[in-house]
């Protein structure tokens, strides 16, 4: 017993990487390569989307909206998954980096959801003849967008970031109920939106359309990681600056 107490546990690689100080170190180095890779992937994906893939036999050229719409739609749910895990990290491990991840991911998720709705609306006009329909998936995605906005509003309402992170975590966990609804809405309510063509089990897409889609999905995912890192860094720096200004204020009074 005394041996266990005397020897501090050697931190594993993950907790070493997740230490805020270490994070600031390696993320500074990671930003530039990530940005380059993201830009290259976007260049490749956009070339594929516009020139390297055939038009659809039914939809014609408008099928190219898919290469923007589907990655954004997948990320609108994926980012919530990241926030969900970070919320667990905040509540269970009380990790400061989890707080920062949550805070940085929420506006990004809202942006991806807005883009998914917007591109879907532009796609729906020529193919379905309407910008908006109260169909299961659209409605549940709109609700997801509102949840993102509500979470951002809640973040902004608190003065103390630590307390804000814990309270927002509870809301994030409760709001996660909407994610399965979005995912399975196309199977539960067989309304306008088509069911998933791309699943882990396989794809119903033609291979010459699948490649550009996967490249674009990868590009958008890398974009998310890049933006997440950058905004996490600025959030950490902002907190440090706040602490320093508070310390300076305390010093000047003394």
């Amino acid at each position: 017993m005394t041996d266990l107490a005397a020897q501090p546990k050697e931190p594993n690689w993950l907790s070493r990487l997740a230490h805020p100080g270490a994070f600031m170190g390696w993320s500074r180095l990671a930003v530039l390569p990530l940005a380059v890779v993201t830009a290259l992937l976007f260049a490749l994906g956009l070339w594929f989307a516009f020139y390297g893939s055939p038009p659809d036999y039914q939809m014609g050229e408008t099928v190219r909206i898919m290469y923007i719409h589907v990655p954004n739609a997948i990320l609108s749910e994926g980012v919530y998954g990241v926030m969900f895990l970070a919320a667990l990290g905040t509540l269970v491990w009380r990790h400061p980096l989890a707080d920062v991840t949550q805070r940085a991911a929420a506006p990004l998720g809202a942006a991806f959801t807005a883009l998914a709705l917007y591109s879907g609306s532009l796609w729906g006009r020529p193919t379905w003849g309407t910008f908006w329909e109260w169909d299961g998936r659209m409605t549940s995605t709109l609700i997801l967008f509102f949840i993102y906005l509500a979470i951002i509003a809640l973040w902004r309402a608190f003065d103390d970031p630590g307390r804000a992170a814990r309270v927002v975590s509870v809301v994030t966990l409760v709001g996660a109920l909407d994610i399965p609804v979005v995912k399975f809405s196309v199977d539960w309510w067989n309304t306008l939106h088509q069911p998933a063509s791309l699943t882990l089990g396989g794809s119903k897409l033609a291979p010459e359309m699948l490649t550009p889609l996967l490249v674009m999905l990868l590009a958008f995912s890398m974009l998310f990681v890049l933006l997440l890192l950058v905004s996490m860094r600025s959030e950490i720096l902002r907190r440090r600056a706040e602490t320093m200004s508070r310390q300076a204020a305390a010093g000047s009074e003394a």
């Binding site: 997801l144 906005l149 509870v170 109920l177």
Partner: protein
Amino acid sequence: MSALLAIIGRDLKLALRGGADVLTLVLFFVMVAAVMPFAIGPDRPLLQKLGPGIVWIAAFLSMLLGLDRLFRDDEADGSLVLFRHAAIPLEAVVLGKMVAHWLLTALPLLVASPLLAVLLSMDPNGWGRAALSLLLGTPALTAFATIGAAVTVSLRRGGLLAPVLILPLAIPVLIFGVAIAAGGDGSGAATLVLAAISLVCVAFCPFAAALALRVSGE
């Protein structure tokens, strides 16, 4: 159990002696419904068609408006700190307060619903369906309201934020509630689904709300 009843009794007493809060909420509920004919025109067939939706919008708004007093006063006078350290778990306290809140906000709406049925020219059957849907749906709304109130309790300006937080979550309740109230095909299934939603929410919400109260008190 007796502690739970004591909390329910305390909240009921506080609300009934503390002023006309309950009546104000009912008044708001009736007024929202009474304003609708001015907005959309006093056309009987149209009102009959829109009746279930109007009743539910009115109930929805009333529940959202009333949620602020769930924990606000307890936070202000320090009872919430005592609840956190009480002998019974905070989850049980939250459950008790939730039941009291339902009795104070949802039950008066049910009692006032015949008045709305007259204003919106619903037939007795239509009123029955609307009342049934309110009876089944308001527990879930109360549960969401409890979470919203718990999350925003430490905020000075939480009044508007809590409704914004729980509105998106409560949309399924609205969908199935209106489906029951409107009748027709699938209202039987909607009845079961809404009852299931309410049961799950009532079972799950005390834990979420208690967690929010704990973390915001640290």
